[in-house]
Every structure is written in C-alpha cells, then in structure tokens.
C-alpha cells in the first residue's frame, strides 16, 4: 500500500460522479410558498405527479436541513429580507429554484410591492416559468436541476 493513488486523478473524478449522483437523488427541498403557485407545487409534490420518483419528495421545514430552496409564489419587498435570510441559513451545497413567473421576473406584478425577480436578491440556479407552471414543466426543470447537480459533483 505504498503506492500513491491520488496522483493520476482518476479516483477524484469518480468520487465527483458518485457525490453528484448521491446529491441529485436526495434533494431535500425547503418550500418557500407564498402564493397561488403553491397549489401547483402541492400537485407536483403529491402522489399524482410524485416528485419522490426523483428523490425530491422530502420537504424539510428547516432551512438548515435543506438542499434546494423552492421559492414558490410572488415575493414582495416586505418578505424579501426573510427569504434572503432563509437562503443564508441554508448550509452549502445549496441550490435555488425560482418556481413560477413571479419569482422569475415579478410576472405581471410590475408594481410598488413586488420584487422584480428573486435573482435580484439571491442567486438562482433554475428558472421554471409559467403562471403557474404545469407539473410537467416542473418535472422537466427538476431533471435539469439534477443534471446540474450531477455536473457540479463536489464542487458545489
């Protein structure tokens, strides 16, 4: 066992793949649900569309135990600092999903009360547009997120 296995780097890249694989199938999500998109989120989360197939069915209601922050619904300027704080409380690695057009851009709420896209207050990994997005759209987005998590390996 005198031989140094780390030098060629093969073991490292395989470990990256394994970590990425493990992470993408055990997404613990924190649902930050503020508006009507929540109904569609419930539909995705429940057995009919069943995001548990993707390992993402387990909602954690503490940000400290969550991997993915699902921001579901309109974010007002009043709640924005709360959302930012929840994001800050999450332990790395963490990802953010903007669920629905209000979180992507503010949607049709171009007014005094609404944050014009949550990417103005925190980094977003995945945008799922729609008002609300259909469950199929969410599932497509979830698979894209899994692809990203896999590609990141342990670098995230």
């Amino acid at each position: 066992m005198e031989q140094d296995l780390s030098a060629p780097g093969i073991l490292t890249s395989q470990l990256d793949q394994a970590i990425g694989w493990a992470r993408k199938y055990s997404i613990f999500q924190y649902p930050f649900v503020t508006a009507c998109c929540g109904m569609e989120f419930m539909s995705v989360a429940c057995s009919h569309y069943d995001i548990d197939r993707f390992g993402a069915g387990f909602p954690r209601f503490s940000p400290r135990q969550a991997d993915v922050l699902m921001v579901v619904g309109t974010i007002s300027h009043k709640i924005a600092p709360v959302l930012r704080r929840i994001y800050d409380q999450m332990a790395a690695p963490k990802w953010v999903v903007a669920f629905g057009v209000c979180t992507c851009t503010g949607g049709f709420y171009d007014n005094y009360a609404t944050v014009q896209g949550i990417d103005t207050i925190l980094p977003v990994d995945l945008y799922i547009p729609g008002c609300p997005p259909r469950p199929e759209t969410v599932l497509e987005g979830l698979m894209l997120l899994q692809k990203k998590i896999q590609a990141q390996g342990r670098r995230a």
């Binding site: 300027h77 924005a80 005094y112 896209g117 103005t120 995945l126 547009p129």
Partner: protein, 191 residues
C-alpha cells in the same frame, strides 16, 4: 327593510339634504365628513346596522381626464371614504338591509375614527392610512399595515410614481438587469 325613514333620519342628523344614489341594497348616501362618524354610530344604534362590511378609500385625482367621465369629486376633495354597512339579524342569520356611506375628504383632513364602534375598522383604517395617507383622528401613532415601516409615501395615491420602487434589499431599479426573453420560456439552468 324600507330605507326611506333611515335616509330621512340621517338627513335630519346631518342637518342638510343628502344625495342618495342606487336603490335597495345598493343604496349609497353621501354624507359630510364631519358627520360620517355620527351617521355610522346612529345607524348602528338605532337601525341595527351591526356589521361593518368594509371601510375603504378611493382617490379621484385626475379622474375622467381626457374622457367623457365627469369626476364626482367636489372641488378640492380628492378622496372618497366608503363605509359599507350591513344589518344582520342574529336570530335568523338573514340580511335585513345594506347601506353605503360616501364621504369626501382631502389629503389633509382627519376624519373621526370608528374603531370604537366596530373593532374591525382598526385594520381597515390602518390600510386607508397606509395606501392613501388619509389619517383618522384619535390615532396619531397609526402604523402601516401592509407596507413596511421603511416605506415612504402612499402607493395607491394617483400621484405616487408608478415606477417608483423602494426595496428593502436588492436594486432599486430592477429593470436594468437582463430580462428573460420569450424564447427562454422553458425551464432553464443558469451556469
């Protein structure tokens, strides 16, 4: 319930002829702002109007400009306070009557509070203050209810700049950032 005796009672209370519009449960009565509280109190005490359905405000600044519409606002008074009352029979659960009171005020006046008559008016008066800047008397320390304390101005006033943003965190002008184009309207990953 026949509203005619109620209307004449309120006219007597206000000491002036009042304009009424609508009919039946849609009747709206315009009362002078100084008499609005007295009228509500009177309706509650004497005629069984025991539910405050809504208390809200409308800003008529610039109303009807460039159209055929004529602003109903009297000169110098841009805000219309609307009190919507309902007489509910507690025994049968049936609605006996509905009546709305209009009262025109300007931005400076402080109409009397009715929160001692209807506790529900507390939050409604705070909302009127928050959104329109019409403050009710006897509550000098009124707090905002929907907007945050750091917010300045009253967003539902017609002269509040439509593009003005007062975010607590994040950029004040979010329009400068990159926007999603229609071609991007599918789930996408940002590297």
């Amino acid at each position: 319930m026949d509203l005619a005796p109620i209307l004449s009672d309120i006219e007597a209370l206000c000491g002036a002829p009042l304009s009424a519009r609508g009919a039946g449960s849609d009747t709206v009565l315009t009362v002078p702002p100084a008499k609005a509280r007295a009228a509500v109190e009177f309706l509650k005490a004497k005629h069984g109007f025991n539910v405050l359905v809504d208390l809200t405000c409308v800003d008529y600044q610039g109303f009807g400009k460039g159209t055929q519409n004529v602003s109903p606002a009297p000169e110098g008074r841009r805000f219309k306070l609307v009190y919507r009352l309902m007489a509910l029979d507690a025994g049968t659960g049936l609605i006996k009557a509905r009546l709305a009171l209009d009262s025109w005020v300007d931005g400076e006046s402080v109409p009397a509070t009715i929160k001692d008559l209807f506790p529900a008016a507390d939050w409604l008066e705070r909302e009127v203050w928050d959104m329109f800047g019409v403050r009710f008397a006897d509550r000098p320390d009124v707090k905002r209810i929907l907007m945050y304390p750091e917010f300045t101005g009253h967003p539902l006033r017609k002269d509040y700049p439509i593009k003005k943003r007062q975010p607590l965190i994040g950029p004040a002008d979010a329009s400068a950032r990159e926007r999603l184009s229609p071609a991007d309207l599918r789930p996408r990953i940002v590297e």
